[in-house]
Symmetry: C2
Subunit: 332 residues, 2 copies
Amino acid sequence: MQMRFFTLTDYPVGLPDRTLFTLETQTLPELDEGEVRIRNRWLSVDPYMRGRMSGQRTYVAPFELGKPMEGGAVGEVIASKDAHFKEGDLVSHMGGWRDIAQLPASGVQKLPNIDVPEQAFLGVLGMPGMTAWAGLNLIAECQSSDKVLVSAASGAVGSLVVQLAKAKGCHVVGIAGAEHKLEWLASRGVEAVSYRNKNAEELERAIAQASPEGVDVYFENVGGICLEAALGQLNEHARIAVCGMIGSYNDTAPAPGPSNLSQLVVRKARMQGFIVADHWHRYADFLDEVGPQVAAGQIDYQETVEETLERTPDAFLALFEGANTGKMIVKL
Amino acid sequence: MQMRFFTLTDYPVGLPDRTLFTLETQTLPELDEGEVRIRNRWLSVDPYMRGRMSGQRTYVAPFELGKPMEGGAVGEVIASKDAHFKEGDLVSHMGGWRDIAQLPASGVQKLPNIDVPEQAFLGVLGMPGMTAWAGLNLIAECQSSDKVLVSAASGAVGSLVVQLAKAKGCHVVGIAGAEHKLEWLASRGVEAVSYRNKNAEELERAIAQASPEGVDVYFENVGGICLEAALGQLNEHARIAVCGMIGSYNDTAPAPGPSNLSQLVVRKARMQGFIVADHWHRYADFLDEVGPQVAAGQIDYQETVEETLERTPDAFLALFEGANTGKMIVKL
C-alpha cells in the first residue's frame, strides 16, 4: 500500500516558503506486530509546528529533513496487528501530514464516546481545546470574578478560552483583527477589541475601555503589542498564561520585548509559560467538563477547513496570515 | 523639640537631581496619647524609594511634595505615651529621612531579641533580608538541587539571596560589576560573572560557562541584558522571582524588553513579581531561620555606611551608581 506524505526539504528562515514542502510517495512495509494502519480523514495544522521547523530543539524535537512530517490527525483503522484496535475504529494520533499512517498502537487513541463530529477531537476536544482549558484553569487559575483578556481570541485556542471564561461568569475581552472575528466575539458576549492600526498605547487604551476594572487573567497567544498593552492594565496578583507568541514565530531577527515588564513587580503579577503536553494527564478531567458542553451545542467552535492532502502546507501557512477562524484543519 | 527632615520639592524625570531634596526643620507638637518619639540612629535608603518619587501610585503611594519623606529607620524611644514603649527601647519604623520621628505606636516595632548590631534590622534582618528570603523561598520555591542565578548579587538583597541559596546547597552564580564585588562573591563560593562591557549575548555565554547545567531559579533585581541573558539559559520549569528592575528606574523613555520572552513557553517557565509587604506575615519564620545564622556569623552581610542626616540623599543617589556593597545605610 502506498503512503503519500509531506517532507520538509530545508529549515526556513522567516515565513516558510511553500516550495519547502514536498509531497512524496512511499510503499508501506507489511504491518508489524503491535502496529495499526490508519486511513487519515482529518489533519491538523497548528502554529506550534513552526517551532519544529527551526532545526533547533525547543520543547519538541525538530522535524527531520526528508522524513515524513508529523502532526495531529483523525482517521479510521484499516488494518491492525494489535489487540486493542480493529478495522473501522476511529482514532486520533500524531501521524499527520500524510494520507495513510502506519504506527505502533501505543501512539494511537480511540476517539472518546462523545457525540460530536470526529474532527472536533483535533480542535475543541483535542489539543487546542485542552490547551485552552489547562491554560485558563491550571496556569492562570481563573476564577469567576476575574476580568479576563485573551489575544488571538477567535483562534483555535483563544475561541475556546473566551467561551470557557464566559461560562465561568467572567468579564471577557478578546483581541482580534478581522471584522468577522470581532463580530463572532461580540456574538458570544465577549468585548471585542481590534489590534488593527494601533500601537501598544492605543491598544492599551482600547483594552482599558473594554475592561474598566483591569485585567486579572491574560491568556497570551500573540506577544508584541498585545503583551505590552496587557501589562499596562494588569490588576494586582494578575496571572498571565503564556500559551504562545505567534507574532514572533517567523521573525528573522530578535524583536524587542515589552518595555513595561516591571509591571510584573508593581502588580505582583505572574507570567507563566506552559506546554499542553505537560498537562495531558488531566485530559479526562477536561473531557468530563467540556465534552458535554460541546455535545450540547453550548460551545460554538469554529473550524476553517481546507481540502485535500496537497493543500496541507497552504493551510499551515495561512495560520500566519490570520486566515483561520477557530481551528484550521484539512479534510482528506 | 525640633525635627529635621527631608522633603522632595518636585517629582524627578530620570535620575533625581540632588537639589530636589530639601532639608527642613519643624517644631514637633506635644506628644499625643498613643504616640512615641524616637531619636533615629540609622536610616535606610533603598531603590524602591525611586518609585515613590514618580508622582504616580504604584504599589505604594508617592511621596507627597513638601512633606517629610519616609523610609525604614532604627532608633531609640526618647518619649512615649503608649503603654507598649518606654524610653530607651530600640525600635524600627518607617519614619526615616529625619532625625527625630514622632509616630503612632502602631507603626513602631521593638527590635527582636537577637544578638546582632541594631542596624542589621534595616538590612540582613530587615526589609532587604526578608525580601531575599521571601523571593527565594516563597516565590521561586528554591530547592537544594536548583541552579541559582542572581543579578545585583552583591547588593542588599542579592548578597543575602546568594548566601541563603548556598546554605541550601545550591549551585549559585552571581552577576555584578565592580571587581571588589566579584571578589566578595567568589569568597562566598559563588560563581561570579561580570556584566561589564558585555552585551546580552556575551553575558549569556558567561552565565552558561559559570552554570553549565543551566538556570532553575533566577532572582531578578536588574532587568535589561541580565534578564535577556538569563532567559536564554533557563531550564525547564525554571522560576524567575522578579524583585525589581533597578536598571530601568531612572529611564526617561521606555526601554525595550528582552527579545526572547518566548523562552518562558519553550522552557515552561514562570516569572513572578513580588512585593515583600505581601509576605510580612512570614517575618517570624524568616527571623527563626535567618536570625541564628546572622548571630552566629554564618552570613556575611555587607554594609555601606554614609554619615549624617545631611548625606541621606547622596546615599540614596549612590544606589544608582552601584556604589554600595550590601545594604546602604545612613548613620546619624
